[in-house]
C-alpha cells in the first residue's frame, strides 16, 4: 500500500466538500456574469447618453424661427442706379425696406421703439432680400410676404432659453422686444421652419446665419486630396511589401516604420505639416491641399495594413495558376491578385477616409481653423472642414451656437455612419471566402 499524501481525502469526503462549496461557487458565477452584463450596460448607457445629448440638442438646430412680413419692394430704394446690378443693390437701402415693413407689422412708433423692433430681425435679412430681387427682378414694385430669420437672441427667447421672468437688465432682449414678439406671435407671423442657413450658409459670427456649407465643401476637397494620395500610395506599398519586396533588412525597417506611424498621435502629423509643408516648402496656410496631404500621411498606415491583409487572403493557388500559364509577376499581381483583393482594400480605404473625415487636431496645426467666410473654390483656396467648424462653433458663447454645433455634429455623424455602413456592405457583398 502506498503512503497517503497529506491532504488527500476519501472520495466521499471530497464529494461532500464539493457539494458544500457549490452554493458559493454558483453565487460567484452569477456575480461574475452580472459584472459582465453591467459592463456592457455601462458602455451602452454611455453610448445612449452621448447620442441622446447630441440629438436632443441638435435636432432643434435644424430648425429656426422666422418672421413673415409684408414687404413693399420699392425699386427706387432698393436699386438706386436702376440697372439691377449687384453694386446698385448694395448701394440701395435694403435694410430700410425691411425695417419699414417690420415697423408696420408691429406698429412701432418713435425712435426707441423702432430700434427695439429693428433688433428682432437677423442682420442677414437684407442680403436675402437683395438675392431675391437679383434672381427675380419681376418682384420689384410689388408687395410680397417674405420670410426672414429672426435674431439669435429672439430665437433663444422663443425656445425658452432666455426667460421672460428674468429682469429686463439681465436678459439680452428688452421688454419692448418681448412685447413685439408676443404681438407677432399672436398675429401668426412667427414661423418655426427648417433652417436653410444651416445647410446653405457659410461661416458667420451671427448664429442665426451660420451654416456648414463652406466647411462641408472644404471637407469634400480635403478628403478628395487625401483619397487621391492615400489610396494609390497605400495600395502600392501594400503590394510591394506583400508580393515583391525581398525579405531583407530594408523591408523590415519599412514594416516597423508603418506600424510606428500607426501609433503616432494625430496631432504630430499636424506638426509635420506645419514644419515641412508650411515652414520649409513655403506653402500657404489653411488650404485643403495641405490638409489632404497631412490626412493622407495619417491614414496611410490604416490603408496599408488592411490592404496587406486583403492581399494575404488571396490564396497562393491563384498566383501559381497565373504564373503557370505564363503570366509575369507583374501581370499576376495586376490581373489576378489586385482584383481579388480589391474589396478588402476598399473597405480599409473607406474606414481610413471616415477617420480622416472626423479628424480635427492635425488640421488645427496647419491653420484650417481660420474664420473663412468664402466657400473654397479649389484645393488651394483657404477653407475649413466640418470637424474644425464644430470645434470653432463650440467655442462661441451664443446659446444658438450650441444647437447649430449639435446639428453640425449630427450631419458629420450621419456621413461617418454612412461610410462605415458602406464599408460593411462592401465587405459583406464582395469579399470572397476561400
Amino acid at each position: 500500500m502506498i503512503d497517503t499524501p497529506k491532504g488527500l481525502v476519501s472520495p466521499t469526503t471530497a464529494t461532500e466538500r464539493v457539494a458544500a462549496s457549490m452554493a458559493k461557487r454558483k453565487k460567484s458565477e452569477r456575480n461574475f456574469q452580472l459584472l459582465g452584463r453591467s459592463a456592457i450596460a455601462v458602455a451602452l448607457a454611455f453610448l445612449v447618453v452621448l447620442f441622446f445629448s447630441i440629438f436632443s440638442k441638435g435636432l432643434p438646430g435644424f430648425f429656426q424661427y422666422y418672421v413673415e412680413i409684408e414687404v413693399e419692394i420699392d425699386r427706387e430704394k432698393l436699386d438706386p442706379t436702376g440697372d439691377l446690378s449687384l453694386q446698385s443693390l448694395y448701394d440701395g437701402d435694403a435694410r430700410g425696406v425691411i425695417r419699414s415693413a417690420l415697423y408696420a407689422a408691429v406698429d412701432a412708433e418713435g425712435r426707441k421703439n423702432k430700434r427695439a423692433a429693428g433688433k428682432l430681425i437677423s442682420a442677414g435679412a437684407e442680403q436675402r432680400l437683395r438675392e431675391l430681387v437679383y434672381d427675380d427682378p419681376s418682384l420689384m414694385d410689388t408687395t410680397q410676404t417674405l420670410r426672414f430669420a429672426l435674431d439669435d437672441d429672439v430665437d433663444s427667447f422663443l425656445r425658452g432659453f432666455i426667460k421672460r421672468e428674468t429682469p429686463e437688465n439681465d436678459r439680452r432682449i428688452s421688454d419692448k422686444m418681448v412685447e413685439y414678439i408676443d404681438r407677432l406671435q399672436s398675429d401668426g407671423k412667427i414661423v418655426y421652419a427648417f433652417s436653410d442657413y444651416l445647410i446653405f450658409g457659410s461661416a458667420s459670427r451671427n448664429p442665426e446665419m451660420a451654416g456648414i456649407y463652406g466647411a462641408f465643401i472644404g471637407s469634400i476637397l480635403t478628403l478628395s486630396v487625401c483619397l487621391v494620395l492615400a489610396f494609390p500610395i497605400g495600395v502600392a506599398t501594400a503590394i510591394y511589401l506583400e508580393e515583391i519586396a525581398p525579405k531583407n533588412r530594408i523591408t523590415e525597417i519599412i514594416e516597423i516604420n508603418i506600424n510606428n506611424l500607426a501609433a503616432v498621435p494625430s496631432v504630430v502629423f499636424g506638426i509635420l505639416g506645419l514644419a515641412v509643408f508650411i515652414g520649409i516648402f513655403g506653402m500657404p496656410r489653411s488650404i485643403p491641399l495641405i490638409g489632404g496631404v497631412v490626412l493622407a500621411l495619417m491614414t496611410l498606415p490604416t490603408i496599408i495594413i488592411s490592404s496587406r491583409a486583403a492581399i494575404r487572403a488571396v490564396p497562393p493557388s491563384v498566383r501559381e495558376a497565373a504564373l503557370g500559364v505564363g503570366a509575369s509577376q507583374v501581370q499576376t499581381i495586376f490581373h489576378h491578385v489586385i482584383p481579388l483583393a480589391m474589396p478588402g482594400m476598399l473597405t480599409g480605404t473607406i474606414i481610413g477616409m471616415a477617420q480622416a473625415l472626423g479628424e480635427t487636431a492635425p488640421l488645427l496645426m496647419i491653420g484650417m481653423v481660420a474664420f473663412i467666410v468664402d466657400v473654397p473654390g479649389g484645393v488651394t483656396d483657404p477653407g475649413t472642414v466640418l470637424p474644425v467648424q464644430i470645434f470653432m462653433w463650440a467655442d462661441f458663447a451664443e446659446r444658438m451656437f450650441v444647437q447649430k454645433t449639435s446639428a453640425a455634429i449630427i450631419v458629420l455623424l450621419a456621413f461617418l455612419i454612412t461610410m462605415n455602413a458602406a464599408a460593411i456592405i462592401v465587405r459583406k457583398k464582395l469579399e470572397r471566402r476561400w
Binding site: 461557487r25 460567484s28 458565477e29 461574475f32 456574469q33 459582465g36 459592463a39 456592457i40 458602455a43 451602452l44 454611455f46 452621448l50 445629448s53 447630441i54 494609390p232 500610395i233 502600392a236 506599398t237 510591394y240 511589401l241 515583391i244 519586396a245 519599412i254 516604420n257 510606428n260 501609433a263 503616432v264 498621435p265 494625430s266 496631432v267 504630430v268 499636424g270 506638426i271 509635420l272 506645419l274 514644419a275 515641412v276 520649409i280 516648402f281 513655403g282 496611410l300 498606415p301 496599408i304 509575369s328 509577376q329 507583374v330 471616415a354 472626423g358 479628424e359 480635427t360 487636431a361 488645427l364 496645426m365 491653420g367 470645434f391 463650440a394 449639435s406 455634429i409 455623424l413 461617418l416
Partner: protein, 462 residues
C-alpha cells in the same frame, strides 16, 4: 500656365503617346510579319510612362522648390545695415517680403522690402514660364524617345514592369519619408529649444508658464518670467489618462469577457457593432460632449456633495476619454480571449470548474499578455488624444493629483501654442516641438513595450 494646367497637359501628352505608340506597334506587327517581343499595348505603356514620369517629377520639384530658391535669392536684397542689426531675423524679413508679394501687406515697409518683392514677382513669372517649357518639352521628348524605341526586338513588357516595380517600391518609401519628416521637423526645433532652455529644466521643472499673454494679469505669471518645466503637463496627462483607464479598463475588459465567453451569437451581433460605434465617433464630438454635458454635470454633482470642483475638471475630460477608449480595450481583448484554444477551457471544465473559475484561472492568464498589450495601446491612445482635452481640460498648468482640479496636458499645450499666429523663433513656439518630441517618444515606447509583452509572454498552444 498654372501647375494644374501643366499637369493636365502632361496627362494629355502621355495619353496621346500611348495611342500613337500602341498603334504603330500594331502596324509593325501587321506589316513585317515578325513577332513583336511584347504585346503592342506595352509599347504604348512604355511611351506613356516615359512621357509622364520625368515630367511630373520635374513639375513637383519646381512647384515645391521655387519658394525655397526665391527665399534664398531674396536674402541678397537685405541691406547689410539691417542684417547686422541685433534684432534681425531672417524669417521675419522673408515674411515681410512675401506679404508684399501676395498683397497682404498693411502699413509701409522699408524700401528694400519693396525692391525684393518686385524682384520676387519677376522670379515667379520666370519660373512659371520655365516650368511650363521644361515640363512640357520633357513630356514630349520622353514620349518621343519611347516611340523611337519601338522595334520588334525591344522588350517593352520587361521595361514597363521594371518601371512599375520601381514605382511600387518608391511608394513604400513614403512611409519612411514620413517618419523622417516627423523626426526631423520635431528634433531640429527641439534642439533649438534646448539651446534656449536647459533640458533639465524642461524635464524636471515644476512650473509651466510659457508667458501667455495676460498670464500676469491672471496671477499665474512669475514676475513676467517664462518657465518651461514640463512636469505639470505630464502629471496632467497622466492624471487624465488614469481617470480614463479607471473607466475604460474594467468596462472594456468585462464587456470583452462577457461577449466572448457568455453572450449568444445574437447578443454579440448586436452589441459588438454598437460598441464599435463608440470608436467611430470623432474626437471633436467627444470634446463637445465633455465640455457641454459632462463637465457641468460633474460640477453640479460635486457641488451637491459639497466638493470644490473646477469647471474644467480632469474628471470630466478623463471620463469622456475613458468612454472613447472602451472599444479599443474591448475589441482587442475580445480578440485575444477568443484566440485562447478551446481545449484549455474543456480541460478545465473536465476537472469540474465552473465557467467563471475557468475564465479567471485558465482563460485570463492565457490571454494576459494580449490584454496587457491592449491596455498599453489604450494608454498610448489616451496620452496622444488631443481634442477632448483641448475642449474640456483647459489650460491651467496646475501640478495636482486631484481629479477635481483643472489640469492641462501635453497635447492641449501643443495645440494652444501652435494654433494661430506664432512668434517666430520664440522659446514659446519651440517648446511645442519639444513637447511633441517627448510625446512621440512616450507613445512609441508604450507601443514597443506592448509589442514586446505580446511577443515575449505569448504562449504558443498549437
Amino acid at each position: 500656365m498654372t501647375t494644374f494646367q501643366i499637369a493636365a497637359t502632361i496627362l494629355f501628352i502621355g495619353l496621346v503617346y500611348f495611342l500613337i505608340a500602341q498603334n504603330s506597334a500594331r502596324q509593325l506587327q501587321v506589316s513585317i510579319s515578325t513577332k513583336l517581343h511584347s504585346r503592342h499595348q506595352y509599347y504604348g505603356f512604355f511611351a506613356c510612362l516615359l512621357a509622364w514620369l520625368p515630367a511630373y517629377a520635374l513639375l513637383i520639384v519646381m512647384a515645391i522648390g521655387d519658394d525655397i530658391v526665391f527665399r534664398s535669392l531674396s536674402t541678397s536684397f537685405i541691406p547689410d545695415a539691417v542684417r547686422t542689426d541685433a534684432d534681425f531675423n531672417e524669417i521675419i524679413a522673408h515674411a515681410q517680403i512675401k506679404n508684399v508679394v501676395s498683397g497682404t501687406n498693411f502699413g509701409t515697409q522699408p524700401d528694400w522690402v519693396y525692391e525684393a518683392a518686385e524682384a520676387w514677382q519677376g522670379w515667379i513669372a520666370t519660373s512659371a514660364t520655365l516650368t511650363t517649357f521644361l515640363c512640357l518639352s520633357l513630356a514630349v521628348l520622353g514620349g518621343g524617345w519611347g516611340y523611337y524605341k519601338i522595334n520588334p526586338n525591344f522588350r517593352s513588357r520587361n521595361a514597363v514592369e521594371k518601371i512599375i516595380i520601381a514605382l511600387l517600391a518608391a511608394s513604400s518609401l513614403i512611409a519612411i519619408l514620413t517618419t523622417l519628416g516627423i523626426v526631423f521637423s520635431v528634433v531640429f526645433e527641439s534642439l533649438r529649444f534646448f539651446a534656449l532652455v536647459p533640458v533639465s529644466e524642461f524635464l524636471f521643472g515644476l512650473t509651466w508658464n510659457p508667458q501667455f499673454e495676460g498670464a500676469e494679469r491672471a496671477g499665474s505669471g512669475q514676475m513676467g518670467l517664462s518657465t518651461y518645466g514640463s512636469v505639470p503637463l505630464f502629471a496632467g496627462t497622466m492624471l487624465i489618462s488614469a481617470v480614463a483607464l479607471t473607466v475604460a479598463v474594467p468596462v472594456g475588459l468585462f464587456s470583452a469577457i462577457y461577449l466572448s465567453e457568455y453572450a449568444s451569437d445574437r447578443t454579440r451581433g448586436v452589441v459588438k457593432p454598437l460598441m464599435e460605434l463608440l470608436a467611430g465617433v470623432p474626437t471633436v464630438v467627444y470634446g463637445f460632449f465633455a465640455a457641454l454635458t459632462v463637465a457641468p454635470f460633474v460640477r453640479s454633482m460635486g457641488v451637491t456633495l459639497g466638493l470644490d470642483v473646477a469647471s474644467e475638471s480632469a474628471l470630466a475630460a478623463g471620463l469622456v476619454m475613458g468612454i472613447m477608449i472602451i472599444p479599443f480595450i474591448s475589441s482587442l481583448s475580445d480578440d485575444v480571449i477568443t484566440a485562447v484554444p478551446q481545449a484549455l477551457r474543456e480541460a478545465s471544465y473536465a476537472l469540474g470548474s465552473t465557467q467563471n473559475e475557468t475564465i479567471r484561472q485558465v482563460v485570463l492568464p492565457a490571454a494576459l499578455p494580449g490584454v496587457v498589450a491592449s491596455v498599453l495601446l489604450a494608454v498610448s491612445r489616451a496620452v496622444g488624444e488631443t481634442m477632448i482635452v483641448v475642449m474640456a481640460a483647459g489650460l491651467a498648468a496646475n501640478l495636482s493629483m486631484n481629479p477635481l482640479d483643472a489640469v492641462t496636458t501635453v497635447t492641449a499645450q501643443i495645440v494652444t501654442i501652435l494654433v494661430g499666429d506664432q512668434e517666430f523663433e520664440s522659446a514659446k513656439t519651440l517648446s511645442a516641438f519639444a513637447l511633441a518630441l517627448t510625446l512621440i517618444v512616450i507613445t512609441l515606447m508604450l507601443n514597443f513595450i506592448a509589442l514586446h509583452v505580446v511577443n515575449k509572454y505569448r504562449e504558443q498552444y498549437d
